[in-house]
């Protein structure tokens, strides 16, 4: 798209010199995005990496302290616990979300053509994370929440959804599944649209049922889209913060202290921006590795449809 060959007769005097060069104009168009990318992404990342080798409280100049922050990180049980808690959250969140989204997407495609029904699935995504967390905080409150009132009314014991260490992470994972499942389903739904109807027709002629077609046609042909969706959602899931900050603040004890929340707390609560940067670099490394593995394992770059 960048270079187009002029087929007009040599009237402008430019076509004589070969294909028209649009590089400068293209650069000009890319520039705004590039400036944003450099200022808001590349520079902060590089500076963050630099800060991870310093002692820095943001108000006085950073002091270089070598690998101190990384040594401390390796020895910090709260960091390792945060990593474990985050991983547990990602597994629960992504596991339920992907399966549920896949089911919803397939139902949207195979069972209904109604736009408003498809639209409803997306509505939770229109609610902000903070609002969703607040609403669920009220619904699930141990004493006053309507959720627990109903549980108590049918004769069961109240459940401390957000104030018990065993329940906290599953509850937070569930809140975020509720919010994101529609969006994920929509992405998968878009992928489903690319599978030609003829393949299903062929399947039906061969006598395959819906379940068999789902396993042998839908899932294999959906793989590239599915892996893209997984990469996006896993990276997002690792960065869970707002729901935790609103609903549990890392508690009870450390049971929901996910990495992002711990980083925030160390930086803005305890003024240790150097150590917080080191942990952010660790999170960056984890995400790079996870994404790379996912990309490789799911062969996201090739499609079976070709």
């Amino acid at each position: 798209m960048v270079t187009t060959t002029s087929i007009r007769p040599a009237k402008t005097g430019r076509a004589r010199n070969g294909p028209r060069d649009d590089t400068r104009l293209a650069l000009l168009f890319i520039l705004p995005a590039l400036v944003g990318f450099a200022v808001f992404l590349v520079w902060p990342t590089l500076r963050g990496i630099y800060l991870s080798f310093t002692k820095f409280n943001l108000l006085t100049p950073p002091e270089f302290n070598g690998l101190d922050n990384y040594v401390r990180m390796v020895q910090d049980p709260v960091f390792w616990n945060a990593l474990k808690v985050t991983l547990y959250y990602v597994i629960l969140n992504i596991g339920f979300q992907t399966v549920l989204a896949l089911v919803i997407a397939v139902m949207m495609q195979r069972l209904t053509q109604r736009t408003w029904l498809r639209g409803i699935v997306l509505t939770p995504f229109l609610v902000s994370n903070v609002v969703a967390a607040m609403v669920f905080l009220w619904i699930l409150d141990y004493q006053l929440g309507i959720g627990n009132t109903i549980i108590a009314a049918i004769g069961l014991d109240r459940i401390p959804f957000l104030s018990d260490s065993a329940w906290a992470i599953p509850t937070i994972a569930f809140i975020n599944v509720w919010r994101h499942v529609g969006y994920t389903a929509l992405l998968i739904f878009a992928g489903l649209q690319t599978i030609p109807e003829t393949v299903y027709e062929a399947g039906r002629i061969d006598g395959a049922g819906e379940v068999r077609m789902f396993r042998s046609i839908t899932v294999p042909l959906l793989r590239p889209i599915l892996s893209l969706v997984l990469i996006i959602t896993v990276v997002g899931s690792f960065q869970v913060f707002d729901t935790v900050a609103i609903a549990t603040r890392g508690g009870p004890v450390d049971s929901s202290r996910v990495l992002q929340y711990y980083i925030y707390d160390v930086a803005f609560g305890r003024f240790q921006f150097g150590y917080a940067s080191a942990m952010s670099v660790a999170l960056l490394a984890v995400l790079v590795i996870v994404t790379f593995l996912q990309y490789r394992l799911t062969r996201a770059e090739s499609s079976d449809l070709a």
Partner: protein, 459 residues
């Protein structure tokens, strides 16, 4: 004529300029005579607005703009303000925070500013002004008020239990059997079937009203409204010296036995559990008494106006009474003695004007206005007397349980240390674990080592 290319160039330039100015726009401290002042307690804002109006009248050309943010948002906003140069000129400071701000060099020593250079320790309740001096001996805050701890109770619940309110004035406790205090707490506890906590057949798993409300584990503020009155009445001190302690005493039996008894009240059903009060988003004892889940609770003097405004579900005012903290093993009662002060930030572009306002806030006129609004006890004795009188005449409330502790010198000071943010970050989860019951009290010995280590690194 402007070519297409030129047009794009202009557009890019405009965009960049817009982006740059958006980044550079600042609010907050300015030098135009408006002094930005922050506080966190909404109940105190009307009183300080009156002070601000009086100040503006006395100082033509100067104006005060008050902003109020809730406790949690307050400190994160203030931190962000220091970083982004949008901090206020003057802000209400807390003893648990000011040492850190001194270390971060964001507070101006008041001695170096003209108007506040002559603040006298002796003008305030004894001990208050000295608390606000840094390790360098300089004053970083001008005292505005003080607070102590007492028991708030629902008079109706006491009456229904057949208890004479006079009994509440002479309660005793000890870490072994809890003394007359625990007996009262047990008696005030009622399960869902109406059985009291000291009667046979009491179901501790299904309690309707707890005898004692809970303000959480107290890990974030040395148990100020939780267990500090109990540990204090054993003679226990949090640090080796106060202020500026560097060794901690969480490994001492006096503390561990007391906490073991205190959090044991949860297991007995006498005090609400971590889940019941709402975990990380806990409700205070005022709301617990209002909703009937607690009959009484420890809280601070700054909560008087909130408690006396409580209404039942029908909108009728609750009758709230006050009792002093119980007498402990030391033979005396105890209360933490804490105070707030106003600090001037180094980011202020008009430090002399800011100091004028701080001087006014800590002066007689403003503290009398605050005393007459009856929300807190002003730091000056005359202001304190006005607050006592206000409570007596307007609220029919005898606040002696708060003031007597100061008269009898049974108070101890809030532990002032450096590294306060780290201490709170380490303590809060560990004490939560003890409150929940997932860690034994003895786990605090390890916590104590961690706290001590904090100061080895720092030095």
């Amino acid at each position: 004529m402007i070519t297409f290319r030129q047009r794009i160039r202009t557009a890019v330039a405009l965009l960049t300029a817009a982006a740059l100015t958006a980044c550079g726009a600042t609010t907050g401290s300015s030098a135009n005579g408006t002094i930005e002042y922050w506080l966190w307690d909404s109940a105190q804002q009307p009183g300080y607005q009156k002070c601000a109006d009086a100040f503006a009248q006395a100082n033509p050309g100067l104006k005060i703009h008050i902003s109020q943010y809730g406790w949690d948002a307050y400190w994160s906003k203030l931190t962000a303000g220091f970083i982004a140069d949008t901090a206020p000129d003057v802000f209400t400071d807390h003893l648990s925070k000011f040492a850190q701000y001194v270390d971060l060099k964001v507070l101006r020593p008041l001695d170096d500013l003209g108007p506040t250079g002559d603040i006298e320790d002796g003008d305030y309740q004894p001990g208050l002004a000295e608390l606000w001096k840094g390790q360098d001996g300089k004053r970083y805050g001008a005292p505005k008020d003080w607070d102590t701890i007492a028991i708030f109770y629902d008079a109706a619940a006491i009456k229904a239990a057949g208890v004479d309110p006079a009994e509440l004035q002479t309660l005793t406790w000890n870490p072994q059997d809890g003394g007359t205090f625990e007996k009262l707490v047990a008696h005030l506890t009622i399960d869902e079937k109406g059985v009291r906590g000291d009667e046979p057949g009491f179901d501790k798993a299904h309690v309707k009203t707890h005898g004692l409300g809970s303000e959480g584990s107290g890990g974030g503020g040395w148990g100020q409204t939780q267990w500090s009155a109990f540990t204090g009445s054993t003679g226990w001190q949090a640090t080796d010296k106060n202020p500026w302690g560097t060794k901690f005493n969480l490994d001492q039996p006096a503390l561990q036995d007391t906490l073991s008894w205190y959090f044991g009240l949860v297991q007995k059903g006498y005090m609400p559990s971590y889940e019941e009060i709402g975990g990380a988003n806990a409700i205070g004892t005022d709301k617990q008494i209002q909703s009937g889940t607690a009959a009484m609770g420890l809280s601070g003097s700054w909560m008087i106006s909130s408690f006396t405004k409580l209404t039942d579900s029908a909108g009728k005012k609750l009758d709230i009474g006050l009792a002093p903290t119980p007498i402990g093993p030391s033979g005396k009662r105890a209360s933490m003695f804490n105070g707030l002060a106003d600090s001037v930030t180094t980011l202020s572009k008009q430090p002399e004007n800011a100091a004028k306002w701080v001087k006014f806030l800590s002066g007689e006129e403003c503290q009398n206005i605050i005393g007459q609004s009856g929300v807190v006890f002003p730091a000056r004795p005359a202001g304190t007397d006005l607050a006592i009188a206000y409570n007596k005449s307007e609220r029919k409330l005898d606040v002696t349980p708060f003031t007597q502790q100061v008269v009898d010198k049974t108070t101890f000071l809030f532990p002032v240390t450096t590294n306060a943010a780290d201490i709170a970050a380490l303590m809060a989860p560990r004490l939560d674990a003890v409150y929940i019951g997932s860690s034994p009290v003895s786990s605090l010995t390890k916590l104590n080592t961690q706290l001590d280590d904090l100061f080895k690194v720092a030095q």
